[in-house]
């Protein structure tokens, strides 16, 4: 029953000094202030609540950098997707596990305590299901187990290649399941997460391109209690195609037909009208923003001020995992907003609010809501998931209070991370994951084999 004495801790009311965290069986059971009792362990740093990467396609970490050379036509999200299909066409289950383990290790080292794995890669290279329908879901769970990251497994339903039931392309054959196979997959995934401490389950109808209205209705009805994640309105072409198919924009369609509420997380939600933005905010659904990926893929800029002013909840995801950094995602979100609005301190909506703290607190709360793991705060009853920043980091040592959060997000970044604890276990020490050696070695072997070097 450790008691941690935190020099500083980010509590719901703001940054506090001399905080005592009582932890038992992986959960925070009490929070107190003042002098440490005998036997308390000093966390000589700034303790932040755990933060989720609420949207990840772990395997894409292995293709980081491979789509940054210009192709024969104008490059867009859609040409990037072709590169991604070619890359995944070569992956074995062992590759998927090795890449996911390294991605999760990096998430931990760089400030994420949990991942929402939007898992759409299901079958063998020729599209045949593995003997175990959940073979690759199992690999994801093994990667989570090896690294200790909290896992929300989101098996994805992918039926069609485009709006209106268009047939799938060859590059999508590893994703495809009809409703029956998907039901078996979810059952198997449920078993997997039951065996993994701190893990839980959601479902991920991939998008309105890949899932028709009937299929969506069926899967929502079959799993009325699970979180639901869906890609929506990432690209303008997707919006146009959805309009051509249904007369509505993707988020508009979901608002009208899908009954959006707090169990929903809409990934990207980049291209919204003012009405969609307001209605999405009021629905209680979370916007799952992926700022680095949205910049990398040329998606566009989310309308932050309107959504926040309507009380919208958002979390962040590392998505394509081209660069994994929790503070970097938050910084990129705010910078994208500044570029879009030509103003500053956009996420802080009131005078005197620290932008760094607002970014962190909102994303931690939104991530926790979208993955259904509590409030995303340091509070009694919460899982003992937290990040410890180096109090003596050159960019932090001279500051105090919420200003520490501004300096973490905008200046020091992930280099200031010293420890990361998940479920009461210390997984990162002195900035390095405790099992980095073998996980990195396996990842290097996979990259070498895939590149033919």
């Amino acid at each position: 029953m450790p008691v941690y004495h935190c020099d500083r801790a980010l509590l719901p009311a703001g940054m506090a000094a001399d905080v005592l965290l009582h932890v038992e069986e992986g959960r925070i059971i009490d929070i107190a202030h003042g002098a440490p009792p005998a036997g308390a362990e000093r966390l000589a740093g700034i303790v932040l609540p755990g933060l989720a990467s609420l949207h990840s396609h772990a395997f894409q970490r292995g293709m980081a950098g491979l789509a940054e050379t210009r192709g024969p036509t104008d490059d867009t999200f859609w040409t990037w997707r072709q590169v991604m299909y070619r890359f995944l066409g070569a992956l074995t289950p062992e590759d998927v596990e090795a890449i996911a383990a390294f991605a999760y290790l990096e998430m931990l080292e760089r400030g994420f305590t949990r991942v929402g794995e939007f898992h759409y890669l299901h079958h063998d290279r020729d599209g045949t299901p593995y003997a175990d329908i959940a073979e690759l879901a199992w690999r994801i769970a093994l990667a989570a187990e090896a690294t200790g990251i909290g896992l929300t497994l989101l098996p994805s339903l992918y039926v069609h290649g485009g709006f209106g039931g268009a047939p799938a392309h060859e590059g999508q054959r590893r994703f495809l399941n009809g409703p029956d196979r998907f039901a078996r997959l979810v059952l198997a995934a449920e078993k997997l997460v039951r065996g993994l401490p701190g893990a839980n389950l959601g479902i991920a109808p991939h998008s309105l391109r890949a899932v028709g209205p009937e299929e969506l209705r069926a899967v929502l009805a079959t799993h009325p209690d699970l979180p639901v994640h869906i890609h929506a309105a990432e690209q303008l072409r997707e919006v146009e195609d959805c309009l051509a198919w249904s007369g509505m924009r993707p988020v508009e369609w979901l608002l009208v037909h899908a009954g959006l509420d707090a169990r929903w997380c809409l990934i990207h939600a980049t291209h919204l009208t003012a009405r969609e933005s307001e209605a999405l905010a009021r629905s209680g659904a979370t916007a799952g923003l992926c700022p680095i990926t949205e910049a990398s893929l040329g998606d566009g800029i989310f309308d932050g001020p309107r959504f926040l002013d309507c009380g919208g909840a958002f979390g962040i995801g590392s998505d394509s995992n081209i660069e994994i950094t929790a503070p970097g995602e938050l910084r990129q979100f705010e910078y994208n907003q500044r570029l879009g609005t030509r103003s500053r301190n956009v996420t802080a909506r009131r005078a005197g609010e620290s932008t760094g703290r607002m970014l962190y607190a909102r994303a931690a709360a939104g991530g926790a809501r979208a993955l259904r793991i509590g409030e995303g705060q340091l509070a009694p009853g919460a899982a003992a998931d937290f990040v410890v920043l180096d109090r003596e980091a050159v960019d932090l040592a001279h500051l105090d209070g919420d200003a520490l959060m501004d300096a973490y997000i905008f200046v020091a970044g992930a280099a200031a991370i010293r420890e990361v604890h998940v479920g009461g276990r210390r997984l990162v020490e002195a900035g390095r994951h405790v099992r980095r050696g073998p996980i990195e070695a396996a990842y290097r072997r996979t990259l070498r084999r895939l590149s033919g070097l």
Copy 2:
């Protein structure tokens, strides 16, 4: 007379294997290929030509993070500037030196070999000139000397508080010089750079806000052979004010009245019409882009495709130094472009071009042109300024050719930097500046004193 054997080196034609760099008295005297001669020193990495941060206000490194809490009104560049004025109001010469030394150390550790210091902080806290008019320029030179970074010192002329000769504010009193004092300052700065290996001089009329037409004409005529740097069109309000004053936009005014050519570097040049963009590109002037600062300050997005398609030259600057990273600036430039155009691989203009290589090569060439230090390439006759990336970095080891540059810029970032050499001296080893200890200690003392902690 060392000979370096480079596993890989980025030559003008692209990434090459087994390159021999012959260095003598701080310059590259020959480049060859093949087996290393006896006594060659192996650089077990990827050797890149030096890259300049062509625009820096070093002292602003000390306020990194202090303007990220929302103020009483809507925050913009202009409210940020108030925070900056308050911060600099407390700086002593010792502070300026300590902050600049740490900023330059970080520039070296994170992939810059040279800095263009746009130096506008001249006088004592009450606006009185120091006994030596170049006191603070001297502190900049000391910081450059202590770290070994290449310095282009750009003393800035600052006369007025706004367009049309508006009086300066109190916050600007440390910047102000009339023509006579500025002439003395430039003379003194000339002496300073003569005493500093590899240093050189330019002039920096601050902006059309701070320098009137007559003053600009006079200073250009007095120094017909020096590089000229000027802030232009960073903010929309600046464009509007310039229109109100002159009937022209800032870059338009400079094109018409100032005779832009290859000796000019226009800092930011964010808000351009298509005609300005094309004319600026064809003028031979360099666009001095500061992507992280331009995002941080909410300036806006430069029109990259048009400028590049007209053959425009650009370099990059770390400007406010809120975050110092050479690959991060290039990545931010490309990402800003992707967000603005909703497409990908914008800086690479032709099929098959590596975006990472194009970003690096163009910025190195543009930075060298703007600071007048050669071509920004590894070539005989160039200064022996180079950056060595870790060939075994997890994101690089499985790649080869120009793809290494994509992975450096978009994935690995500055963490892959192993050595940095300037003028033939190895200043960074194993990712750490050889004099980090005392320079960091002095910086910490300064920050502590300024924060009152």
